[in-house]
Symmetry: C3
């Protein structure tokens, strides 16, 4: 499919959920742990993140960007990366990704590139995604009524932002009550939380309060769902547990991120609700050569106008590039096979590529 | 595999779970919503059901039945469909499906073809599947003891029917107690329900009562499982939650319909219980070009004598045809690859096609 | 990929979870039930285990080992098997498997080959895996303090064993408290259980106690997870429910067996915890020609140094061979496609084959 293949290689991407890259990678141990999403401890001495799908994908696809042969060995890769230095590595990967817009979750991590640096390094546009749990912590630290403070800070912080993000998956998970709490309950919960120090929000009432304020704001609301680190109970991050919340969510776009291994459930929700969108996020990076499968499953039930691209890149700048590279390869393979079987036309396939690569994101985030 | 391919194209099908088609489609908005299973609201203005797997499949496979080129554009398709009119469209699709027997769930929808119309339009035989929840509502409206009325109406209504159907998935879901209730509990629950109006049964005691009456009847009992509209909590429709019920279900055949995304769990149950059967039902239609995957996964653990075909066609008559078309394409592809790899013989593949297409259904429903 | 293909055919295997084969198969009904994992009743008269994926795989891959043509018919297969006799059948299959080390779970079944017989028949080395629930029953029958007796018997029984095994999945499942119980709680629970007869342990406190004693022992601890017979609630055997236990499990290797249909969740756990390992176990046998899929999914998130091979063979000696045969075919196919697509190098593929076939097992079980 030469036209489809050429198109996939060149299509501009909106990476609608990404973080800053590490300004300093420091050592190989930290780098390898940066290729492992789920583990929160240092990798065991017998293990290496290079012996994983993502590790093999780094060698296959990132090595050439650094001027190495495809499939360069780990030692060779690390030596070249060290020789180039973090700034140059980041510049190479971010400019090679073919991303025109980076929508950056600024709520996590230190020692990472900020919005301005992301823009300067990549040459692309940047937009901000604001974490609701960060707003809550600011409101806890503010004077006066918590709810008023939350609303004021949310309004101020999102005036120039493209959307909000919830990490409810890491703060108790989705099962249980997700209705809007009463003003009195919010007041009481806020008083208790402030008295306890007002850090790392896990109070369910205040988490629920934040979600409904984000819905009221009307900008797209992102949820971490599925695969993440082990501090999150994976089955409590199954987006199906959001069903009742989604029934109450009105018209505000709700973006289900990552989704693995619940991408088929997420696709169902995207069909069931006019305001629900999905991506495969960090799953693509971590599945490496196996990522065409999730790319394909995500478009089983999800309408094609409801699917987006993101890398969830964080830490090693490889991830900001590799997500794009693997998504291009994967969507080209998946749709190319459907076209070859005469199930889809090549023209339709190209149109769907455009929708997922940037069209849907531009429409829903109001990007130019 | 020329012999297998020829066989798959021509094999007669029993569609063991289907509904009537719409006698009048009316307008394009309603038609497009008819291609979306999960959403219960009108599709958003920015969306189109043509930009989905099922939409692409309609263009690829249904357009030629209406005399259009494969992959006709949506506007062209809708214009041609309108020009032909609903009666002619239904006649074209139902006769092209290659279905000899339609087992019709008569418990849902108005303005749809009745049994006689289904038979006349298709030229095929029809059988009825009676909904237990409809029987319950008739029993609530009848005089005298509820349990006696339920049994009498069930016996009368199923005298000429091939089986029964439960939509427990939509009336509270599978988790929780599914044992047989006592006569006293049934009497009390019926009194409460009758006092409250006796419509739309959600009382768990009476739902459980109906299931055991259906088991006693001995005709195949169908369950909606998995993928449906969003009024159903998808995870409460996971057939694994039926495990305790199945342990009590004796010899009466229990048919797990649709199953997506739990088709592997359903296949496990078909292996675990002599009386459990599975199909992929409406999932095949909605997955379109991705349906070979579910067809393949359904025969991972499920014994081949326990798998059936159905379309679950409802509304647009396209679905009554498309399910058959996609199943033929999918089973041909899946088994053809196994034969090409010399994992199966072509003769065995043809035999398994016959079992799923009609052999198992004829045996279990006692069709001639 | 000639080098990869040759390597896969010849690579020595460690079968790290297997049982003895039946010394006497007796009759065809028992043989066919032995090919069905989930059903605990005799197969229905209308059914045959030969009409399943595993049945087709037996005909394709086991028939030639008995000197029959590939795809021999069931009657022919059974006649030949009967003619050869159980001893010769076992000898043929166990020597053809290419397994150098059989790690045998000795906690289940009678009339099966013991360790010495397994070694003699196969010509391979044998190691023992001791069931914790069997230790508990011995401790219940012993004199004196239950906890002391359990520890003493565990130490004695595992002195020459390679690891332990838990069937918690069959004794209440994984959901719920899996913390270490207090000594007082263990004493009380043991008294109650002894008073009730001390057979078939289902007491949660004592099950939990056994797990922590196994962790303290430090040898690899195997868990049945996922697909098994219907006495086990499949969804309660989802390894995700072990998350809290794994957070407490320290450095002792924990081996998640079988995993289907939760192999992607299991792979996640293998990435999340330095001490968690996975295999596809009996799923490979039962999926037959569909087993390449699970082999591929298991290495999506699981690091390659955390994946092992096992057959879980029990009963018909076919299973001890077929698991190996299907695993070789499957890993060859899966990795061959990745190499052909230039996603992996052939050299890396061969290295990963070695890791899964024997390298990881030798490292973690301390085999020579």
């Amino acid at each position: 499919m030469p036209a489809l293949d050429d198109h996939v290689l060149a299509v501009p991407l909106v990476d609608h959920h990404v973080h800053g890259y590490w300004l300093q990678t420091r050592d190989r141990g930290r780098f390898e742990n940066g290729l492992n999403e789920a583990n929160v401890e240092p990798l065991a001495a017998f293990d290496s993140a290079f012996d994983t799908q993502i590790g093999f994908a780094v060698r296959a696809h990132c090595a050439p960007v650094l001027g190495l042969p495809r499939h360069a060995e780990p030692d060779e890769y690390w030596a070249r990366r060290s020789e180039l230095g973090d700034d140059e590595v980041a510049r190479l990967f971010l400019t090679a990704a073919g991303v025109t817009d980076w929508l950056v979750d600024t709520g996590f991590g230190s020692g990472i590139a900020d919005l301005a640096t992301m823009g300067r390094t990549s040459g692309g546009r940047v937009g901000e995604v604001v974490r609701l749990e960060s707003i809550a912590e600011m409101a806890a630290a503010a004077d006066g009524d918590y709810a008023d403070a939350f609303r004021r800070i949310l309004r101020d912080r999102t005036a120039s932002a493209v959307g909000t993000k919830s990490i409810l998956a890491y703060r108790g998970g989705f099962p249980g009550d997700l209705t809007e709490p009463s003003a009195a309950d919010v007041r009481d919960a806020a008083a208790r939380w402030r008295a306890a120090g007002g850090t790392r929000l896990t109070d369910r009432v205040l988490l629920r309060f934040g979600l409904y304020e984000a819905l009221r704001l009307g900008k797209p609301l992102q949820f971490h769902t599925g695969f993440g680190d082990r501090d999150c109970d994976l089955d409590d991050a199954n987006p199906l547990h959001l069903l009742d919340f989604l029934r109450n969510s009105g018209d505000t776009p709700v973006m289900l991120l990552h989704c693995y291994p619940y991408e088929r459930e997420a696709g169902y929700l995207a069909q069931a609700f006019n305001n629900v969108y999905v991506d495969a996020g960090l799953s693509i990076n971590h599945l490496g050569a196996r990522s065409p499968g999730i790319i394909a499953r995500l478009i089983e039930l999800a309408p094609f106008r409801k699917v987006l691209y993101s890398s969830d890149g964080f830490g090693p700048a490889e991830l900001h590039y590799l997500g794009a590279r693997l998504w291009r390869n994967g969507i080209g393979r998946v749709l190319g096979e459907l076209v070859a079987a005469d199930e889809w036309t090549e023209r339709d396939a190209i149109r769907v590529v455009d929708l997922i690569a940037h069209g849907n994101a531009r429409r829903v985030y109001g990007l130019s």
